[in-house]
Structures are given as C-alpha cells and as structure tokens.
Amino acid sequence: MHRYNRHIILSDVGLEGQNQISNAKVLIVGAGGLGCPVLQYLAAAGIGTLGIIDFDSVEISNLQRQILFGISSIGQNKALAAKARLEDLNPTIHITAYPEALTQNNALLLFKDYDIIIDGSDNVATRYLINDAALLTKKPIIYGAIYKFEGQVAVFNYKDSANYRCLFPNPPDNMISNCSDVGVLGVLPGIIGTFQANETLKIILNLGDTLNGKLLSYNAKNNQTYTVSIPKSDYSITEAAFHANRYLVPNCDKPIKQIDFEAAVQLNSVQFIDVRETQETPKLDLEHCINIPLHQLFESHDEIDKTANKVFICQSGNRSQRAIAFLEKLGYKNCYNLAGGMQSVIKNKTYNESR
C-alpha cells in the first residue's frame, strides 16, 4: 500500500477509499487522445480492473497527444500497446485489452462486466452506441469529447440522471465524422481526459460534486468554462430496438482492402473518390476522380459508380478507410483504400510523370 500512500493520507480517501478504488471495474472505450490520459491516471490510482477496447493501431501522428505510446508502439493495436505500458506503470492491477471495435454485437456483454463506462471514442456513431448500451446495462458514462481547442465533459446515466440523447436526441444525418484529420491542440485531450479520470474517481469514492447531468465546456484558448444542466428526457430504449438500430460505427470486422497507386491505376473501370474537404491540397489530378468530403458522404454517396472498382483517397489514408467502412455497411462492394493517401501519391513516379 506504499504505492497509494498519497491517497490514503487524504482524509476524504483513506484506506477505505483506496479499497473502493481497488474494487472498481472501469471500461475505457478508445485508447486515443482522451483514453490515454484517463488510463494513465486510473491505472496509477489503482483501479482494480481496467478494460480497454480499441480496434485501431498506433500511427506516428498519434504521438503528439496519445501519451502512452512511443516509436516502439507504431503499428501495434492501441488497446494492447496501452496495456503493455500500463502494466509497467502499475503491475498490481488487472488490465484486459480488447483489440476490436465496440459494436452492437459485443457492447452489452462487455458493459455488464464493468461498473463505469468511459467514452473516449472519436466518432459520433460510437458515442450513441455507448449511450444506448449503457442505458440498457444501467451503467454510468463518463463522457468526454474534443474539437480543436475546446472540450466537453459530462456524467450521464448516473443516479437516474440525463443521458447523451437528452442533449442531442439523434445523430446528425452525416454521422460519420471527420475526427482523424481535424486538428487538435495536443494538450487539450490531456486536459479533458484528466477531467474524465477525476469524475470517475469521485464517483467511485462518492466524493464532492460530479458533473452528473451537466455538460462542462472548456476552452483552452481563454481558459473559460461553461456548465449547463441537462434535463432528463423520456428517451428509453429496448434491447430489440438497440439491435435493430443502425449505428454505423467504424467497421473492422473484415479488413479493408488496401491498394497502392501503381496497382490502383491498373484496375479495370476504376473510379477514384477523394473524401477530403474541397479546399484540401494537393488536388488529385486524375481522370475518373470525384470529390465527396467525408461528412457529405451520407447525402452524396449516390454520385459513386456502384459497378466500378472504387479507390478511396484522403490525405493520409485514415478518412478514406472510414468512408469504406461506412459504404460497405450500405452494401457497397469492390472498395479499395489508397494506402498512405495523397501523401504517398505525390511521391509516386508514375503519377508525377503522367501530369
């Protein structure tokens, strides 16, 4: 117990509180910008059982903010890489890594094994999935979300409080979001994730005032905060409705086919679909190329040639994978991801010579 001495000597925590922390079971959805600081502090605090679910793997552009990872983690699954790092930080706790996506098929069973669910996801669809699964399994959610220099924190579905759907009842039509390529100040998810870890510990310790049923907004540029109370709506969900719903979470059940530029131009009847924002450069200078920004894919996917071989492209190859995951759920076939995105195309000799 020497490890937790600074907790135990706090009169609000003590040995009893530290035992409550040791007995707690917390699931973190997403080991990214928010998940990393949450995991770091909860593992250090001695949460007895930590679950980490993430299907994604570490890329070099994650290291600016995803502080559990280093050069040696690149290419590894995030849940597994985080577990390895946290076991060094605190080998006395039990950590389970789930290197898979949270889906309608696994969410309910998984949530039942934990006391508290932390939403560190990076897309709208997963946020609604977490909300509904937590309602069905009666688990509190510690919500965090970021946008550029701003963040939101809330506690939902705790002691009969409001949930995310009381705030935003339905996902927007274009519910695939553009997270991976929107900029974010690296320290911002650190701040918001640390707020989430703090709310989690307060709930476990039954301490202080939580953000239960309240949404806190934080602006890193001017340090202003704004807290709004969310009245509980009459939204409820049945297990049947949950399973019938289309959450359109990023899909990794079957791997997305990757293709390089040389192979892509050799495909018969090929259409290139650039899912970057219209102002992004360099432009893809090719025949049979259309531009549908990712967030417009929901309303504009009719422009895609269903019979062609479809090659999706963005700046680095992330958003294009999301586009494919989304379209495959709508039944699109013969979709390829241009590996490395535009950044790899501009280095390609054939591409440069053809222009």
Binding site: A145, C179, S217, Y226
Partner: protein, 77 residues
C-alpha cells in the same frame, strides 16, 4: 434587452467570435434564433442546443436571462 451570447466549437468558427452582445426586443428562443439565423445564415443547418442562464431551453421558452449559449455536439477524441 442586450443579450450576452456565447458560442462554442464549430458555431464560434461561423460567428468568428466566442461571445458577443446582441440587442433583442422580442420574447422567445424561436424569435432569438430567427435573429441569429438572419445574422449568420450558415448556422441554419448546424446542430446545436440553446442554453439560457446555464439551463437547456427549447424554442418556446421565453427569454428572461441576459445570458445565452449555443452548444454544438463535439465528437473528437
């Protein structure tokens, strides 16, 4: 009365400020939104909630407080 209006996230990018004072002579949140949409047409198709005095309100609510906030959903992580 003069309303102090706070904007967040994408909304603040459209209004190009995080806070401003707007004179308002009508009554309801719906009427306030008409004013905001005429000032910033790009907000019309954006998803956001309106809060008054740190409480969420709906479009029929009467505006009785000088402080209003427009809160969009964030999804990044």
């Amino acid at each position: 009365m003069n309303l102090k209006v706070k904007y967040f996230g994408l909304i603040a990018e459209i209004t190009n400020c995080s806070e401003e004072t707007i004179p308002f002579s009508k009554h309801t949140v719906a009427e306030f939104l008409d004013l905001i949409f005429s000032k910033y047409p790009a907000l019309k198709n954006k998803d956001f909630k309106v809060a008054q005095n740190m409480q969420l309100v709906n479009i029929e609510t009467k505006i009785s407080s000088a402080e209003i906030a427009l809160l969009p959903p964030f999804s990044g992580g």
